[in-house]
């Protein structure tokens, strides 16, 4: 029998009243890629933070190579051969690659020979795993993909035998994901053990040999990857069966109701982010806008929803010009014309997170009947409305009086959707509707968007999740460097084609 390199026994961890990890048992074998999958908030990251020494378990033991060890700080873990690549990179942006890597492991107090030795060791590691990193470059000049490689190199330099990666692909383009997977496979070949935390089933099937599933703080199962499939895993994660591809009927799109001509938009730093964009959205259609974060989608969405001024071009809603160089409709008047907007950043723009749920549920419509009369809010009506829509949109917990920040990401998103969809908008602009939302809620939100489409709404879906764009859209456009670089009918396009467009290659 193979002896496990890492073994967790009865790990428990609570944060206040939240029992984040309940009696977790886990065995990870040497030289494997082991996946840990679960919805957001299932406790995966907490568990791995315990293994990395960032948090201390309330009870339970951790064995490495059969020996019990106490992990009181990340230093203990690093010295035991554990490395972790966090979801948010732990890099100092204005430091060089070299400085970031040696931080905490400088060797000597005064810099000199130790730097030369570190450079030599790092060059060797780079060559061995084909990482292709320039040690002198500053982190802020590097792309996200390269920053991640720096994190991997950092762990290797510190002697990691077990490498934990927390949601490593969330910020990468499909091509970068391929590169990452190549690196991970070569690490495995060299005998390293890799723990991959993810909520993406494709990655598990692609890469791992074993997979453990977590749900609501508990370990619900361990499987050999070859003897399971996506549907089984999804069911274990959510606790019930889910649709992986939304069932949607094909519809005939109607007239173009929202048109954009030669739109140019600048950002706050006066940089042109949207360059001569043209697009039409038709009744009864979902137009998907794919692209890697930061290619102008945010500014485009803000301009279309009346939050950001445009430089030139024209935006038309029902053949009426709502925005051009001189004229500018604000979000309130756009709302009255039947345009609704679900912003990308729900906590900054979509919600006042310190407000109670019922306040957020009517915000923006609060001045209308039946929520207020003569500028006085009518609390009774608001509360009964809130209870009704929370039921309808399955917002959990159903407490209109709870402060919004206490809801999970998915439920916060449902609060925004129920507010914006309640008025039956004719045109709906949606940004990142399921970012940081768990699978159960994703399914629900997707179904709602399809329902809106079937009722004849024109929907623009902006998302960095390629899978989401593919499963919802009728038509897909790809944005790169501020321009629309491609338009595809959904049913004749592959991930690869879109990936190349997103990377600006095709």
């Amino acid at each position: 029998m193979v002896s496990p390199i890492l073994e967790l026994k009865d790990i428990n961890k609570s944060f206040g009243h939240v029992h984040a990890n309940k009696n977790i048992n886990l065995q990870i074998n040497k030289g494997t890629i082991h996946g840990i999958i679960g919805e957001n908030g299932a406790g995966k990251s907490t568990l791995m933070s315990i293994v990395f020494g960032l948090y201390q378990a309330d009870s339970g033991t951790i064995n490495i190579n059969g020996k019990e060890i106490k992990l009181k700080s990340p230093r203990d873990s690093i010295l035991s051969g554990i490395g972790m690549v966090h979801q948010h990179f732990m890099l100092v942006e204005n430091f060089s690659v070299l400085e970031n890597i040696i931080l905490g492991f400088e060797g000597e107090f005064v810099f000199g020979k130790n730097l030369d030795k570190a450079k030599k060791d790092l060059k060797n590691l780079c060559d061995m795993y084909k990482l292709n990193i320039d040690l002198e470059s500053t982190i802020s000049d590097l792309s996200v993909g390269f920053r991640q490689r720096v994190e991997i190199l950092k762990s290797l330099y510190r002697g990691a035998e077990i490498l934990i990666l927390d949601e490593p692909t969330g910020v990468l383009t499909p091509q970068e994901v391929d590169e990452l997977f190549k690196i991970l496979r070569s690490l495995k070949e060299e005998g390293k053990t890799i723990v991959l935390i993810t909520h993406k089933l494709n990655e598990i099937m692609d890469l791992t040999s074993e997979v453990s599933v977590m749900r609501q703080g508990e370990m619900v199962g361990h499987k050999k990857t070859e003897s399971t499939n996506k549907e089984d895993l999804a069911e274990m994660m959510v606790g019930r069966s889910v649709l992986l591809r939304i069932n949607k009927l094909s519809t005939k799109p109607g007239n173009a109701v929202f048109s954009v001509r030669d739109l140019v938009v600048k950002d706050d730093l006066d940089v042109t982010r949207v360059k001569n964009v043209n697009l039409d959205i038709h009744e009864g259609e979902i137009l998907g806008l794919a692209g890697v974060t930061g290619n102008g989608q945010t500014e485009l969405l803000e301009a279309l929803s009346g939050i950001r001024k445009i430089e030139s071009g024209e935006i038309q809603l029902f053949n009426e010009t709502i925005s051009n160089k001189n004229n500018f409709f604000d979000p309130k008047s756009l709302k009255e014309k039947g345009l609704a907007h679900v912003p990308e950043d729900r906590q900054r723009m979509g919600l006042v997170t310190d407000f109670k749920a019922y306040e957020n549920l009517i915000f923006g419509y609060h001045h209308q009947e039946p929520f207020s009369k003569s500028s006085v809010l009518k609390e009774k009506e608001i509360l009964s409305f809130s209870k009704k829509v929370m039921e309808e949109y399955d917002v959990r917990p159903r407490s209109p009086n709870l402060i919004t920040s206490n809801f999970s990401g998915g439920n916060q998103q449902k609060i925004i959707l129920s507010r914006e969809l309640n008025e039956n908008p004719k045109v709906l602009l949606v940004g990142q509707p399921t970012r940081g939302v768990d699978i159960g809620a994703i399914e629900f939100i997707h179904q709602r968007l399809i329902d809106m489409r079937d009722k004849g709404a024109a929907i623009l879906l902006v998302s960095v999740e390629l899978e989401e764009v593919l499963s919802l859209s009728d038509r897909i456009i790809v944005m790169f460097d501020g321009k629309i670089v491609g338009e595809k009918i959904n049913k004749d396009v592959t991930d690869r084609e879109l990936g190349l467009l997103m990377a600006g290659v095709a």
């Binding site: 230093r75 690093i78 966090h86 732990m90 931080l103 905490g104 400088e106 060797g107 810099f111």
Partner: protein, 323 residues
């Protein structure tokens, strides 16, 4: 008076006047590079001046006064750390508390111990630091240029003046050429990166504050046991704030902060020199206007003359692990 000697005396005063600013700016650099705002330089400088004067008076040795001043300032820095690092309180509030407390405490203690509010007894010459004449200063006096530079500008200062200018390259070396410096800069930019590298964020910040306390003590001792022979009420006179301005103007870098301190010192020296002097064509400038020059300069410089000063990324934020 010939103009060369004028310039020499102006530069001589510049170095003397800039000394407490340099100490304070270097002290602030350690705190702020570690991510802790130090608005309390003013209060600590005042405390150091008071403790140094009182210590010298009671123990009869200025070195004893300096030692006690260091202890006092390190304690105050630790208090600031306890409030804002350990208990994650608001850093500016903690500093303001220290500043206000020190104004009141020094005045009250002086009244209780010496019967005069905010005034300590005059120190005798063996109770204070005296000006140091460097070797050969007298011999070189008459050589043109070299004599002027060496004997009239460089020689004849208090020991703190030399320590201050020597401290700048040392600070530079520590901050940029040692592992302590790397960790210090990292903890002010991204404490999470430091934590995950297995270094204790809190202990790093406390270490930085300890160095901060030692350096600021020198500034206070310079004021009350070197250039003056006693402590008087609010004798720091805004130098702590001015040093902080120099630090920001110098973009948290020892070399440029030094230049900023010298610039402030120079305008102050000029200001003193110009008082009552009749300038050709202009006439006598009112004293009030002349005295305002250093402050006007501060405002002009900080109001964007130097471009955007980019502070350490994590400055002012207490470190809290996620959740």
């Amino acid at each position: 008076m010939d103009s060369l000697a004028d310039i020499a005396s102006l530069l001589n005063s510049t170095f003397r006047i800039s000394t407490p600013l340099v100490f304070a700016a270097m002290a602030g650099l350690f705190a702020e590079r570690s991510g802790v705002i130090d608005f309390g330089l003013e209060g600590k400088m005042l405390a150091a001046a008071f403790v140094a004067a009182v210590g010298s008076y009671f123990f009869g040795s200025p070195w004893m006064g300096l030692l006690l001043a260091i202890l006092a300032c390190v304690s105050l820095s630790m208090l600031h750390g306890f409030a804002s690092v350990t208990h994650k309180g608001d850093q500016v509030v903690s500093c303001v508390a220290i500043n206000i407390l020190m104004i009141g405490l020094t005045t009250a203690l002086a009244a209780a111990w010496f019967g005069q509010a905010g005034l300590t007894p005059t120190l005798t010459s063996d109770q204070r630091f005296l000006e140091i004449t460097l070797p050969f200063a007298d011999a070189l006096q008459d050589i043109p240029i070299i004599g002027l530079i060496y004997s009239d500008i460089i020689s004849g200062h208090y020991i703190f003046v030399y320590i201050a200018y020597l401290s700048v390259p040392i600070v530079f070396w520590i901050v940029f050429k040692t592992s302590f410096g790397l960790r210090l800069r990292a903890v002010g930019e991204n404490p999470s990166a430091v934590d995950t590298a297995g270094i204790n964020v809190f202990s790093m910040r406390y270490k930085a504050l300890m160095v901060n306390g030692v350096l600021i003590a020198f500034a206070g001792a310079h004021l009350s046991t070197a250039v003056n022979a006693n402590f008087f009420r609010e004798m720091s006179a805004g130098r702590g704030y001015l040093a902080l301005a120099a630090l920001i103007f110098g973009k948290w870098h020892p070399k440029t902060a030094l230049i900023a301190c010298l610039l402030f010192g120079f305008t102050d020296a000029l200001q003193i020199r110009l008082q009552g002097v009749e300038l050709p064509m202009i006439g006598t400038i009112p004293v009030q206007l002349i005295q305002a020059i250093p402050y006007i300069l501060t405002v002009v410089l900080l109001a964007g003359f130097v471009g955007k000063a980019i502070a350490p990324n994590a400055i002012g934020q207490p470190y809290i692990k996620e959740r």
